[in-house]
């Protein structure tokens, strides 16, 4: 009887210890979330009130209230949708083309060792070049329009992406390639059955980098050669001293960048769960 009661207390204690741990974990998690929000609110409050108290000039620095007013204005006249839509479209097309072209090129380089040896120094040089330097060239060649901007978006990410994917393809265990050979398969089988499936994590992490870079390239392109898009709004706003426009556009860009990154993150998560 006595013994039984000891047992149950022991069990009770063990449970509480686990519960305590979980509680502590949640508490910490909430604490971090609350502090994050607090930092954001504090920043906005200081920004707003230093404007109202005349510590900063809202003509140059805008203010949260002015940004919100401007944003509502953009929603009302529909300019939000045209500008955000076009930037988003250009980014997605660039990203898609980067993904397709870089997978195909890396496959070709993997297939021919000689070709990869020939091309490698060129890739390295092009990759280390600051790609924004190329944008003026694209304008001369392609005019001002969506094509130039998409090409600018592609140019920022493509070389690094090819190099990364090719390195990923090359690092596949050569014994696994030998296995395919012993089963009577050729190099094409080896690529389809071993190289490509084992490189999916590399491809996904590469896509995460590329979506951000595509956005960078598109904004650079819009700075120089657009009449629409968030990049255009930022440049135009700064030229006519409409800082509300600039800051609102930057905030929309932040949200877009986060959203696009999240989308790939979800794809990756879904893939990991399935595998």
């Amino acid at each position: 009887m006595n013994r039984k009661s000891t047992n149950s207390t022991l069990k009770g204690e063990a449970l509480t210890a686990q519960q305590l741990y979980i509680k502590k974990h949640h508490k910490h998690h909430h604490f971090v979330t609350i502090l994050r929000l607090l930092v954001l609110v504090l920043f906005l409050a200081i920004w707003e009130f230093s404007g109202r108290l005349g510590l900063i000039d809202t003509f140059f620095f805008s203010s949260p209230c002015m940004v919100v007013t401007f944003f509502i204005e953009m929603l009302r006249d529909g300019s939000f949708f045209t500008h955000t839509g076009i930037t988003l479209l250009e980014t997605l097309i660039s990203f898609l083309l980067i993904t397709i072209i870089s997978i195909l090129s890396a496959t070709l380089l993997w297939h021919s060792k000689t070709l990869s040896e020939i091309i490698e120094p060129f890739l390295v040089v092009l990759n280390s070049l600051p790609k924004s330097a190329l944008a003026p060239l694209f304008i001369v060649w392609l005019g001002t329009g969506i094509n130039t901007i998409i090409v600018a978006g592609i140019s920022v990410a493509i070389f690094g992406s090819v190099i990364n994917l090719y390195t990923g393809f090359k690092s596949v265990d050569s014994e696994k390639l030998k296995l395919i050979q012993t089963l009577g398969g050729n190099r094409f089988d080896a690529f389809l059955k071993v190289v490509l499936p084992s490189s999916i994590p590399t491809i996904l992490s590469n896509m995460k980098v590329n979506i951000g870079l595509a956005l960078v390239g598109v904004i650079i392109g819009e700075f120089l050669a657009a009449r629409r898009g968030l990049g255009y709004l930022i440049i135009y706003g700064s030229q006519v001293f409409q800082l509300n426009m600039v800051i609102t556009s930057i905030i929309i860009l932040c949200v877009i960048a986060m959203g696009l990154y999240q989308c790939i993150q979800w794809t990756e998560h879904y893939y990991k769960k399935r595998a």
Partner: protein
């Protein structure tokens, strides 16, 4: 029984790099008869795996030739040191990789694969991923992947070397029994002399690099028909082991 399945004639092979030439094999000649289980032992790095790759047709010999009986042509099974099961495929998908690549995936193949899974005690793990299996089970799954191709000649390249000692004993005994029961011709490369004696009908001893055939020792144990584990208790076992040990250590002495 005495019909040769494979004949190697004066095989020579060298590896080349900018620093020079490394001779791996010199004048290797031997025959393997139908149904025979041949073991090849030799000092490490002597070119045993190279020889197997040449027999499998993955490498071309510099001179000499490999003659295969017509029946066995294109029907060579090869088992590598590691299981190399593909992690993103289930065990079932892994063992059907060969037929999938050769586009010979038929009902009969699937039935054969199912039967082999049953025989090797893996049918419960059919839909599992390789990482959920123990080392021994993975090696058996790799054997099924090879056997599904219905090879006439089976090449085993130290297939047990990645396993821990306990698993190694039981898996090599299992796989030895399976190969004996199927009557398939097999060539096993190993550096474990006991393994060679307990599994094979004949042991070829290779010298150190550049390898040549040093000796060919037939194994006739009085316990032959029982399991490979029991074979280790045969009265002749120790004598053959000592003989092989002497042959191999002579090679190391030269260094």
């Amino acid at each position: 029984m005495n019909q040769p399945v494979l004949e190697c004639k004066n095989i020579c092979f060298s590896y080349h790099n900018l620093k020079g030439e490394t001779k791996a094999l010199t004048n290797i000649s031997f025959q393997v008869n139908r149904g025979e289980f041949l073991a090849i032992v030799g000092p490490s790095g002597c070119g045993k795996s190279t020889l197997l790759s040449i027999i499998a047709g993955l490498l071309k010999p510099e001179s000499g030739e490999v003659l295969l009986n017509e029946k066995e042509q294109g029907h060579i099974g090869y088992m590598l040191q590691q299981d190399h099961l593909l992690e993103w495929r289930t065990i079932w998908k892994n063992i059907l990789l060969g037929p999938e690549i050769n586009k010979t995936l038929t009902r009969e193949k699937e039935a054969l694969a199912g039967k082999l899974l049953e025989d090797y005690g893996l049918s419960k793990f059919k839909d599992k991923k390789p990482s959920e299996l123990s080392g021994g089970m993975k090696q058996r799954a790799a054997l099924i992947r090879t056997m599904v191709m219905e090879p006439g000649l089976l090449l085993l390249d130290e297939p047990f070397s990645a396993l821990d000692y306990q698993t190694r004993l039981s898996v090599s005994a299992d796989i030895g029994k399976i190969i004996r029961a199927s009557g398939i011709t097999a060539i096993l490369i190993t550096h474990d002399l006991s393994e060679a004696i307990s599994l094979s009908d004949r042991v070829l001893v290779l010298s150190k690099r550049p390898a040549r055939i040093k000796n060919s020792i037939p194994i006739q144990l009085t316990l032959k028909d029982s399991s490979p584990l029991a074979a280790r208790n045969a009265p002749e076992f120790q004598d053959i082991f000592n003989l092989l040990w002497k042959e191999i250590s002579d090679e190391y002495r030269g260094d």
